[in-house]
């Protein structure tokens, strides 16, 4: 079909061949097989170049510190709820859709990274990191304008995952990289001035910026390295098919919606529905 309204779509992702296939600019069997890890392939899928061994290890380390999947955590529990009818894939997919929200996931990760980049640009690059006055002005310009993902710790004083990542990087060369140093400076200021600590999202996008990921790539790669959290809940949830997840006992539900009422048409007809509605109102009142 040669309809000009149906243009050819350009892709850099993949091309099937006869004896080998291309993936992100590489021959799959000849170049990648036996050499690349899963993390590395996922990075290639996001348009990143082949990562160094150190970068792959860093991605794996980020995936490890993110490995918090207590089954009560909301996206994880949602995964399990949907998987409770026996299909792990459906739970896994539903859990992943939870990333489309305002607080965690790809969008906030990307935005947090963009804001850290903005601050770095305001400072004129890594050389400006020690300019405390400009640093503070830049931070204030951002946090007075919008919520900065990566800062703020819900339900606890510090994010233990961030503490672990900081300790892990403290003695490493990666702990000296420009964005990491900048992020720690921002943390120091916001803790002092606003009592706001950092959470792991900030640690993840900062480490990724130091690996030369773009903010959109950081957001997407966050989703990729989080998959272990959903996998366990989806797989076990589907195996178990827990009846308590499929349906809670009625006593577990509290109704706080509109009170019982009779519709205008039922009122006009004065029929059974009106009597039923009034009965329900009385019942509710006397409880």
């Amino acid at each position: 079909m040669n309809d000009p309204r149906c243009p050819v779509i350009s892709t850099r992702v993949a091309q099937m061949g006869e004896r080998d296939h291309l993936f992100a600019g590489h021959e799959v069997f000849a170049e990648l097989l036996g050499k690349e890890s899963l993390s590395s392939l996922l990075a290639l899928s996001a348009g990143l170049p082949r990562l160094s061994r150190g970068d792959v290890t860093m991605l794996d380390d980020l995936a490890t510190v993110l490995m918090l999947c207590d089954q009560r955590i909301w996206p994880v529990k949602l995964t399990r709820l949907v998987a409770s009818y026996g299909n792990a894939l459906h739970g896994f997919s539903a859990g992943n859709l939870m990333h489309a929200n305002l607080f965690i996931g790809a969008g906030p990760c990307q935005r947090g990274a963009e804001l850290l980049q903005e601050l770095m640009n305001r400072l004129g690059g890594p050389g400006g990191l020690e300019d405390q006055r400009r640093l503070e002005a830049g931070i204030e310009a951002i946090v007075s304008r919008e919520r900065w993902p990566g800062f703020g710790v819900p339900f606890r004083v510090t994010d233990e995952r961030m503490d672990a990542l900081k300790a892990h990087l403290a003695e490493s060369e990666r702990g000296q990289r420009p964005y990491w140093r900048l992020f720690l400076r921002v943390e120091e200021y916001l803790l002092r001035v606003r009592k706001t600590g950092t959470n792991i999202l900030g640690g993840v996008y900062t480490a990724m910026l130091d690996m030369r990921f773009t903010p959109p790539q950081a957001g997407w790669m966050l989703v990729m390295i989080l998959q272990g959290n959903f996998s366990g809940a989806a797989f076990e949830g589907a195996q178990q098919q827990a009846s308590a997840l499929q349906e809670l006992p009625a006593s577990a539900c509290k109704y706080e919606g509109p009170a019982a009422r009779v519709s205008p048409r039922a009122r006009l007809s004065g029929g059974e529905a009106t009597r039923a509605g009034q009965g329900a109102v009385r019942e509710r009142t006397t409880k």
Binding site: A14, Q15, G25, N87, H90, L248, G257, P258, S263, A276
Partner: protein, 224 residues
């Protein structure tokens, strides 16, 4: 590793949480109520499905005069075809032989994304006087409204029939993006799903794989 070092020492164990889940829309029980109205004995007897949908989405029953307008808007909105991504996705789901719940999930997500994108465009339109349209679909929509005595409704004409239908829903009380997107998905889901069911599972040779075409650009080639 001792389990005691973990259990009871995390925010989930330490904080006080509500012991019940809160319902705000449906009062559970043998005679369930939707936004306060008895579903079995009142709504089922006195209201149309589209009015019940409107009640669920807005919390209130629509004005009586909006009932036919809602029906007409949802029917005009329901025509999703296989050239649109949700319909195309439905076709692929059918060819791939996906199980029913997977096909429903795939099509619902595609429709929800189509709805989000469309409603964003719709709501971004600058306010303007309603202009005339030579779109035959919009003319038919006006005619159907006229047959119901609804002559005074202003239809958005800049986004074709879907835009006109969405503007009609807005005037029937579905004003937020969430309400409009949900109505969009509900109107189109059965239609798109039917396309999935109509495809021959596994007979990939009958699927137009080259539509549209892709061209691979070698990243390293670009660099050189």
């Amino acid at each position: 590793m001792r389990l005691e070092d973990f259990v009871g020492k995390n925010p989930f164990d330490r904080a006080a949480w509500p012991e019940q889940i809160t319902a705000k829309v449906v009062q559970p029980g043998a005679a369930p109520r939707l936004c306060g109205y008895d579903l079995h004995r009142d709504l089922a007897r006195n209201y149309r499905w589209s009015e019940t949908v409107s009640l669920a989405l807005t919390g209130e029953l629509p004005e009586p005069r909006w009932a036919p307008a809602l029906e007409i808007a949802l029917i005009f909105l329901s025509s999703v075809t296989v050239v649109e991504a949700p319909g195309h996705a439905a076709v692929l789901a059918g060819f791939c032989g996906t199980i029913n719940s997977a096909a429903t999930g795939i099509v619902a997500i595609a429709l929800a994304e189509q709805a989000r994108a469309f409603v964003e465009r719709y709501r971004a339109l600058p306010r303007a006087e309603v202009s005339a349209s030579d779109d035959p679909g919009i003319a038919e929509l006006r005619a159907r409204l006229g047959e119901q005595g609804l002559h005074d409704l202003a239809l958005e004409t800049r986004l074709g029939v879907p835009g006109a239908a969405v503007s009609l829903l807005s005037q029937c009380g579905l004003s937020t993006a969430a309400q409009l997107e949900a109505a969009w998905v509900m109107a189109r889901l059965p239609v798109a799903l039917a396309e999935a069911w109509a495809q021959p599972p596994g007979q990939f040779a009958r699927y137009p794989t080259q539509l549209p075409r892709f061209a691979y650009h070698h990243p390293r080639q670009e660099r050189t």
